[in-house]
């Protein structure tokens, strides 16, 4: 039995090679491929992010090559390295890509923490590196070769608040934030700055602990101040608890909860049920955006992978399209030229208009979708 299986292996190999032939033939139109590198979490507990990103890259890559590749007909290729979510492995992966594969451009890594570790390596070797999913403050401050295409919270929150002000007439708010968590605290700083800039009056600022489950005292005080809305910086658990307590206290549904990225999760609707209705959050991308570019992307993604894309896949998809344009504009697969081209390239993608500002972060926030919770699900806020 074993012998039988073994003897099959060469046959299988030939079969695979035969199947791969048409692709190879298409590629080998006399031109040498341009190979870039990517470091993502492809294994381990957080691999769903990395796999979504890889799916987004691969889909965009397929479309780019079908449309003639880069640099007048040279096919584009991506070499993937797995970081498994570990900083050390991300550093090694970047070294490997630069040293052994000689790539002129790197996409990734997945987490902000990984970028803080691996970004300086690429920057030191003067190889441009583009994070598609890093939202922490200070990512691009690593150096002039570090870019990101993901919108940081500081760019998303003002859009949400502006929409609430324009469409609901929100003028006076109360703020609640978790004061023992770096993520919710930094989102609060962003909210505070955005509220001041928009001229929205803050009636009270209340804090809570990320493990708290009783929020009625703070909300009782807030209820007495009669705000137009409550701005909340919390993770899913505490945020859902606030929504439940708000309903239990009888604060009217017309007093909306406006959240940061922490509340941008379908879990809020699952935990808080109808108490979550009316919650507003901003999102760099949303599956329900009706524009044709987005709808074509969703259809192609479903056809290729049999599932719905998420924000990570969308960001990756746009990033690869932009990178392909920049390589062509650079005129040669040369890191220095690609870096300069990136700063000047723009692309109309599924997240809206994508280009870089002077800090090499996304320059445009017009693609941000403001979402409203209804019946336990987020949908576009109208």
């Amino acid at each position: 039995m074993m012998r039988g299986v073994r003897s099959l292996i060469p046959a299988l190999a030939i079969l695979c090679a035969a199947l791969a032939l048409p692709q190879a033939a298409a590629r080998a139109q006399g031109k040498e491929p341009v190979t870039i590198g990517s470091v993502e979490i492809l294994t381990g507990p957080n691999n769903k992010y990395g796999v979504a990103i890889k799916n987004g890259f691969d889909l965009a890559l397929e479309e780019v090559n079908k449309a003639g590749g880069v640099l007048n007909g040279r096919p584009l290729e991506i070499v993937y390295e797995d970081s498994a979510g570990a900083k050390e492995q991300a550093i090694n992966a970047v070294r490997q890509l630069i040293g052994a594969k000689k790539v002129p451009l790197i996409l990734g890594p997945t987490l902000s923490n990984e970028m803080f570790a691996a970004g300086p390596v690429a920057n030191g070797r003067k190889i441009p590196i583009i994070g598609t999913s890093n939202t922490a403050n200070g990512i691009t401050a690593i150096g002039p070769y570090v870019f990101r295409t993901s919108l940081p919270e500081a760019d998303v929150v003002p859009v949400t608040l502006k929409a609430a002000m324009d469409k609901l007439g929100v003028k006076r708010v109360a703020v609640m934030y978790g004061n023992d968590d770096a993520f919710t605290k930094s989102a609060y700083d962003v909210m505070k700055a955005a509220l001041a800039k928009l001229g929205i009056e803050v009636l009270a600022t209340e804090t809570f602990g990320s493990k708290d489950t009783d929020f009625s005292p703070q909300l009782t005080k807030i209820e007495g101040l009669h705000p137009d809305a409550i701005v909340v910086s919390a993770l899913v658990e505490a945020g859902s608890g606030i929504l439940l307590a708000k309903k239990a206290l009888g604060i009217p549904a017309s007093v909306r909860v406006i959240g940061g990225n922490g509340l941008n999760s379908p879990k809020v609707g699952e935990i808080a049920g109808d108490a979550a209705d009316g919650t507003l959050v901003g999102s760099p991308w949303f599956i329900g955006k009706a524009d044709p570019v987005n709808q074509a992307f969703i259809a192609a993604y479903r056809a290729k992978y049999g599932s719905d894309p998420d924000q990570f896949a969308a960001q990756a998809y746009d990033t690869l399209k932009l990178a392909a344009k920049a390589i062509t504009a650079a005129g040669a697969p040369d890191p220095e030229k690609i870096r300069d081209a990136l700063t000047k390239t723009s692309h109309d993608g599924v997240m809206g208009k994508l280009s870089f500002n002077a800090e090499r972060s996304p320059a445009d926030t017009s693609g941000v979708a403001v979402l409203e919770m209804k019946g336990g699900k987020y949908r576009i806020f109208k």
């Binding site: 804090t207 009783d214 009625s216 005292p217 703070q218 209820e223 608890g241 439940l244 239990a248």
Partner: protein, 301 residues
């Protein structure tokens, strides 16, 4: 608004008191700081969650889960502490054994259930609220206050008015003498473990219903407050647990609700919520080292 703040304090205080009752009993009578107590709180909530998910009404799930966790507590107490009691091991040894067991139980629960927050199915408990004179309270909040009051009344009656209560108090006072007088130490230990475990589970279920947020480590956050409450009230003192629980609940709610902000010139804001209970604890211990109701070097039940 002030009335609502008082009501919030009463609810939070009753929750602390309910949790502290079983803890103070276990601590005061059995003379062991049993850290597995917080786990019964989590386990009760989880068991009730699964019972209701399987279709049991909450009125059935509540007592069934409490009794089952009470029995679990008897089993765990016997398994962990029998040897140590027989050897008359120092308190620190028992404390460390229960600490190890607690860490094991929490890790196991996390491995099985994950750390995601779960909630009761919406149909289980109608989220109706009552409004009386501008004060709004939900059914689960009433239930917590009622259960806390009832538990205190029943426990006080059992302790003061029955032979079993006499045996429990005698054992708490002096274990050797009580046994010489014919009290069955093993039976009393099992009974106290059962009552404590069941009360811990009851508190977990009710607070789980109120906040609708159930996760394995919920008991751990409660333990620290529970410690403050039982020490404040005096170890093993049932009235003390109730009053200290209410005091901590009121103080926290008022701090978090910003009632001390104007008094303190805006300094004592909601960020200070978790500090006030412990400030009260330290102040009380300076003035009365044995707690509000405790008597120096005498254990009471």
């Amino acid at each position: 608004m002030f009335a609502q703040h008082l009501a919030n304090g009463a609810v939070a205080g009753s929750a602390y008191a309910l949790f502290a009752l079983g803890f103070t009993l276990m601590f005061g009578v059995l003379g062991v700081i049993n850290l597995t107590y917080g786990f019964y709180f989590s386990a009760g909530a989880f068991l009730a969650l699964y019972l209701t998910a399987a279709g049991a009404p909450v009125w059935l799930a509540l007592p069934v889960a409490s009794v089952l966790i009470g029995l679990t507590a008897v089993g765990l107490d016997a398994a962990l502490l029998t040897r140590l009691r027989r050897a008359k091991a120092p308190e620190l040894a028992s404390l460390m054994v229960t600490l190890g067991a607690t860490l094991f139980l929490y890790s196991a629960a996390t491995a099985i259930f994950g750390t995601d927050i779960r909630r009761f199915p919406p149909a289980v408990f109608a989220g109706g609220a009552f409004e009386i004179a501008g004060v709004r309270l939900t059914l689960s909040q009433f239930l917590i206050m009622g259960t806390a009051a009832l538990s205190v009344a029943v426990l006080l009656f059992v302790m003061r008015g029955t032979r079993i209560g006499l045996a429990i108090r005698a054992l708490a006072e002096n274990s050797d003498a009580a046994q010489l007088m014919g009290a069955d130490a093993g039976a009393v230990t099992r009974l106290v473990s059962f009552i404590s475990g069941a009360l811990g589970a009851l508190a977990g279920i009710l607070i789980g219903l109120k906040d609708n947020a159930i996760q394995p480590y919920m008991g751990e956050a409660m333990m620290l407050k529970g410690f403050a409450v039982i020490i404040l009230g005096g170890l093993g003192d049932i009235r003390g647990a109730l009053l200290a629980g209410l005091a901590v609940g009121f103080l926290e709610s008022m701090t978090a609700g910003g009632l001390f902000e104007s008094v303190s010139g805006g300094y004592v804001s909601s960020s200070w919520k978790d500090a006030v209970g412990f400030v009260l604890l330290v102040l009380t211990l300076w003035i009365r080292p044995s707690g509000l109701f405790g008597r120096a070097s005498v254990r009471r039940a």
